[in-house]
Amino acid sequence: MHQKSKFHAMAALLAAGLVTGCASAPEGNGDSNDPMEGMNRKFYNFNDALDRNFFEPVARGYVKVTPDPVRSGVSRFFNNASYLNVIANDLLQGKPTQLAQDTGRFVVNSTVGVGGLFDPATKLGMPEHDEDLGQTLGTYGVGEGAYLVMPMMGPNSLRDLPGTAASVLLNPINYLSFPITFPLGALAAINTRANLLEASSIRDQAALDPYTFVREAYRQQREFKIYDGNPPNDDFEEYFESEADAAILKIY
């Protein structure tokens, strides 16, 4: 794979969050926000087995037989189809500039961009944004709620759960007739998994305890997104505020 995809793989892994990894017993942890860890780990292992035995091999096959430009077009198509969700959340978060850009982006890419297969909007000054209902609730001050892993789904939290439903409801593909929706849905799933292949191999390579790795990465990444890349404490001060760590710094 080329270089760029590797760097983005990490971000993609965190963004879409893969639910896979190997079996391990739960361990109590104070600030991990995971009261349902026992159940979560069971579903995580179930998802992981399903992924390794089905989705991942299928995604690899898809990558093998599909030329890169076609895959990029497919990715853009599904991104565009899910874009009403972004626009709705621009509105809910009171971001007028972004709302205007994203509305323009959806219109331009759906028409000139042939149903979203191409992305002329970015070059016209309408960049892609990443918003969802979970982020909106975060900006409203709703706490993250317990971490959640459910069968056949990526990492989630009580705060992000309504957004998962909203993104389905706001995707026009789901309103087409079943003979169209079903194969498109399958392609969407395979495409999503294919885009995460590099990310999952990084996870497999880097993680000592994949369940914990995915959970922590997901939680931090969500916080980062809620603040559009500028979280207030950035995890910077934490290490320099507690007494123990202040003591550590005095050792210099």
Binding site: K4, H8, T212, Q220, Q221, F224, A244
Partner: protein
């Protein structure tokens, strides 16, 4: 004439010694790291994994404060570790960092690093940078540095909002809880070995 000569000399000395001198500013430390990463990327396949690792390891040892990082990632368990265990941990952690960088920064496709800002946070400094892909995509990389004597050294990396120390601390706590510190160190060693065995 003499003036010009001494000026030229002074300039030369500054130019030659600047990268060698211990970074007086936090952003310089980060930029030394980024320059080394770019070099590894450009060396890519020609250097091979082992070549990149050998090239990066001494730079990482210079710019990262692995001692402090080790304390922070092991959290409350550090206190219970013997001196020998601590040394072993710092050593294997540094090895793993070099292996991870060598594995992932393996090819160059026109990327560049850009320092965007540098700001004081209590007794530390945050340097905000991005990795820019040729197509305009950005990956946010923020560094937290602490001052050690004259030099600033990196104690945390935050990539796209994910703090390396927080992530590792939670993960390591889970492993220590099940397998103890010895188990964690063994796992880290196995990781280093897995990077090595993957590449020629």
């Amino acid at each position: 004439m003499f003036k010009l000569l001494s000026l030229t000399l002074a300039l030369l000395v500054t130019l030659v010694c600047a990268p060698l001198a211990r970074a007086a500013e936090a952003r310089q430390t980060v930029e030394i790291l980024h320059a080394a990463l770019l070099e590894a990327m450009k060396g890519g396949a020609e250097l091979g994994y082992e070549g990149r690792r050998k090239q990066l390891a001494p730079v990482l040892n210079e710019v990262f404060d692995f001692q402090t990082i080790s304390r922070l990632v092991t959290g409350r368990h550090w206190a219970g570790m013997s001196e020998a265990q601590r040394e072993e941990f710092v050593d294997v952690f540094a090895q793993l960092s070099a292996a991870t960088y060598a594995e992932n920064f393996d090819a160059f496709g026109g990327e560049k690093f850009e320092t965007r800002a540098s700001e004081k946070k209590k007794n530390a400094e945050v340097v905000r940078t991005v990795l820019l892909a040729p197509d305009g995509d950005e990956v946010s990389l923020n560094y937290l540095l602490a001052e050690q004597g004259e030099a600033w050294r990196i104690v945390n990396v935050i990539a796209e909002g994910v703090s390396d120390i927080s992530l590792k601390r939670t993960e390591y706590a889970a492993v220590i809880g099940r397998e103890g510190v010895g188990g964690l160190i063994a796992k880290l060693r196995a990781k280093v070995a897995s990077y090595e065995s993957k590449k020629p």
